[in-house]
């Protein structure tokens, strides 16, 4: 029972950190169209982008995990304070308009929330003893037990004398070790396989919802006669996005192979690979769609954080880079908006930086020893 309460506390704290961070970022950007889900979504990417940099620095400097946990605790505390300071008005506004916004969604919102609830229950119940789960969760549990970052092999417990580029550069698993270190008494295996799974599934749904909003913007209804009062502004995009989320859920349920996104979402939601295909890819696609549809003023800033967090999640972040380049370069070329090219390259910088570092480590130019 104590572990369940700690797990619930960890879930609430992490979601609060993402919300506060997202609120701060949106406040800094001066965005008016505030929404809680969008705030959490942005905060999630920004958090893992920052975590990657801090954790990697600690890993290379051979600092103990507890030092990293302390740094992140200070960061999270600061973010929560700033978030409350900057965001409380927006939160109150969101809560006051909750009924109005639910009316804009309509009945489909209930269907969408039911599919989300079903997915959450599923990932909470599902367990297996796969080799990959042993690696991902083992990485976090080993870090916590030895109070080190990446210096022991997660699958055997033996010391590692040199960091391997394939695993050492993607720090996502250590976030669970940090959370377990901060919330004393919460086992890493629970933090990774239950708490993080639930968070990741929620983020996946929000990412798909954001993609739906980008694919079906309200301006698509321009010029169409309004037939009833229920078709007021904001209804179209929300209802189509809700239906889109339900459709993606249905297709994920019917993904028949171990390679498709569905199996990663439901059975491997705590792995970085799953976050690439189910959170980062739809998020990047949403940015691309908003560029094609010209519904977003400055989408590259969001793309930067999606790329940065992808590097944290997995080495498969190159898929997010490839997708973004394949979708954005043509729109830049077709519409002749070459002034967007520097912003695109800057947004892709985290994955480029990761790629260069990976190559240099792989070819022995950089040697990252785990001892002095």
């Amino acid at each position: 029972m104590k572990i369940l309460l700690l797990a619930a506390a960890s879930l609430v704290v992490q979601m609060l950190v993402f919300l506060c961070l997202g609120s701060v970022v949106m406040k800094v950007r001066g965005k008016d169209d505030y929404s809680l889900s969008h705030g959490v979504w942005i905060g999630y990417f920004v958090y893992f982008g920052i975590f990657e940099v801090v954790c990697l620095a600690c890993e290379v400097a051979l600092l103990p995990l507890r030092t990293l946990a302390l740094i992140m605790a200070v960061f999270m505390g600061g973010v929560i304070l700033l978030g409350f300071f900057f965001g409380y008005r927006s939160w109150i506004g969101s809560m006051n308009s909750l009924r109005h916004r639910m009316q804009l969604h309509g009945f489909l919102l209930i269907v969408m929330l039911l599919t989300l609830a079903a997915s959450v229950v599923f990932v909470l119940c599902y367990f297996d003893a796969s080799a990959d789960s042993g690696w991902y969760v083992g990485e976090a549990s080993t870090a916590l037990a030895t109070n080190t970052i990446g210096r022991f092999d997660p699958s055997t417990g033996e010391r590692i004398l040199r960091l391997k580029s394939r695993y050492a550069l993607n720090c996502f698993p250590y976030h669970n070790a940090v959370m377990s270190s901060l919330i004393g008494g919460l086992p890493v295996v629970v933090s990774s396989r239950s708490v993080m799974s639930v968070i990741n599934v929620i983020m996946s749904f929000i990412s798909v919802y954001e993609l739906g909003r980008a694919l079906f913007p309200d301006n698509e209804r321009r010029g169409v006669k309004i037939r009833s009062i229920r078709e007021r502004p904001g209804v179209y995009s929300r209802r189509r996005a809700d239906l889109f989320v339900v459709m993606v859920f249905a297709l994920n349920v019917l993904s028949s192979t171990i390679y498709m996104p569905g199996i990663f979402l439901f059975t491997r939601s705590y792995e970085g690979k799953s976050l690439i295909v189910n959170v980062a890819v739809p998020a990047a696609l949403a940015i691309c769609a908003s560029l094609w549809r010209e519904t977003s003023e400055t989408p590259m800033r969001d793309l930067f954080w999606i790329m940065a967090s992808s590097v944290c999640f997995s080495a498969s972040s190159i898929m997010v880079l490839a997708l973004s380049l394949m979708a954005i370069l043509p729109v830049i070329a077709i519409r002749g908006k070459w002034n967007r090219l520097p912003a695109l390259l800057l947004a892709c910088a985290p994955v480029f930086a990761w790629g260069v570092t990976y190559y240099l480590i792989q070819h022995g130019v950089i040697i990252l020893r785990t001892w002095r």
Partner: protein, 345 residues
């Protein structure tokens, strides 16, 4: 992807991988392709609609945005999907490039991840949503939605993870035997000289960044072999147990070649470990007690955990293993450790 190599498939590698990737869910690709074709036809043949002024909520109004610009219509999404597909076909799914580059980057086994770039699932969902959304009457829309779901459920198999879900019997979501096995091993190991020596050595080392500290940090934990069914969950629950087999070695021993790594008879590291598992389960009668003991000493393995009904007990005891406990249907054997109790006696 397991069993699909560029050496064997050559230029058809990408096609073979795509078939393996989709399996019986190919209707998702069909929906995506048909949707893109319909979108292209509509974009080319469709009439451009005049965009009259619209009524905008005051708080949503952005000066200049509505009056001056012709915002792209839904065909822009079609072109986005098409551009991704074309780019993929020219680059990461170009059979000639793939044949030349993918083995060089060691990505043959993980090539399936390139299919994540193709927005097949999201694209199919987009076209289905657009099709259902185009129905005006709410009731007909609901019926169309239900029919689409039923048709998909009949034409495609369910996600293989879903039938395997069951309520976990503990909060850690690991096999219930693992906590008791780990406890029993620790209880026994903490009585041994190796553990006490490691603790003493660690207490004397102040620099936690040294190689020496790492060595003794590892040595204070027992080195074990667990049955395949629970091995990968052991260190998730208890990282203070060391395992003899790493992930790739164990998978290969059990006949799983999805990692693309193989170990031959010349690989001493693998052969020693194989000998131990062969002996534990009596799989290879040619393994002698001496060869087993040699492998155990060379690898410094301390504990063997075997299913009670599968254990090669007489061989293990004859080879110098001592049965420590039988818990949760598993037998725990200890090898080559002297306990402090024995020492005192």
């Amino acid at each position: 992807m397991a069993g699909i190599t560029i050496k064997e498939y050559g230029l058809t590698f990408v096609w073979a991988c795509l078939k393996e990737y989709l399996g019986r869910s190919w209707p998702i690709l069909l929906i995506f392709v048909l949707g893109c074709v319909a979108g292209i036809v509509a974009a080319i043949a469709g009439k451009k609609r005049d965009v009259p002024l619209e009524i905008v909520d005051a708080k949503d109004y952005v000066p200049g945005r509505y009056e001056d610009s012709q915002l792209p219509d839904s065909s822009s999404v079609t072109w986005m999907f098409v551009s991704i597909v074309v780019f993929c076909l020219v680059t990461v799914m170009n059979p000639f490039l793939v044949r030349a580059l993918i083995p060089r980057f060691g990505m043959t086994t993980v090539y399936y991840r390139f299919f994540w770039i193709l927005p097949v699932t999201f694209g199919a969902a987009y076209w289905l949503t657009r099709a259902i959304g185009s129905v005006r009457r709410k009731m007909v829309q609901a019926i169309a939605f239900a029919l689409v779901i039923v048709a998909m459920a009949f034409s495609m198999p369910i996600n293989p993870g879903i039938p395997n879900v069951r309520i976990p019997d503990n909060v850690y979501k690991v096999d219930g035997a693992i906590p008791v096995l780990c406890d029993a091993i620790h209880q026994d190991f903490e009585q041994t000289e190796q553990y006490q020596k490691a603790v003493e050595k660690l207490a004397a080392i102040t620099d936690r960044t040294s190689r020496k500290w790492m060595k003794w940090e590892a040595k204070q934990y027992p080195l074990c072999v667990f049955p395949y069914g629970i091995e990968f969950a052991v260190r998730q629950y208890d990282p203070t147990v060391r395992l003899l087999f790493n992930r790739n070695l164990r998978l290969f021993y059990e006949g799983n070649t999805s990692t693309g790594i193989t170990y031959g008879e010349k690989n001493k590291k693998y052969m020693r470990r194989k000998r131990i598992l062969d002996a534990m389960y009596g799989r290879d009668p040619s393994v002698t007690p001496e060869a087993f003991r040699k492998a155990m000493k060379a690898t410094k393995t301390r504990y063997l955990v075997v299913e009670q009904n599968l254990a090669n007990t007489s061989f293990l005891e004859e080879s110098g293993c001592r049965q420590v406990a039988t818990v949760a249907g598993y037998m725990i054997f200890r090898f080559g450790l002297s306990g402090s109790e024995q020492k005192a006696g």
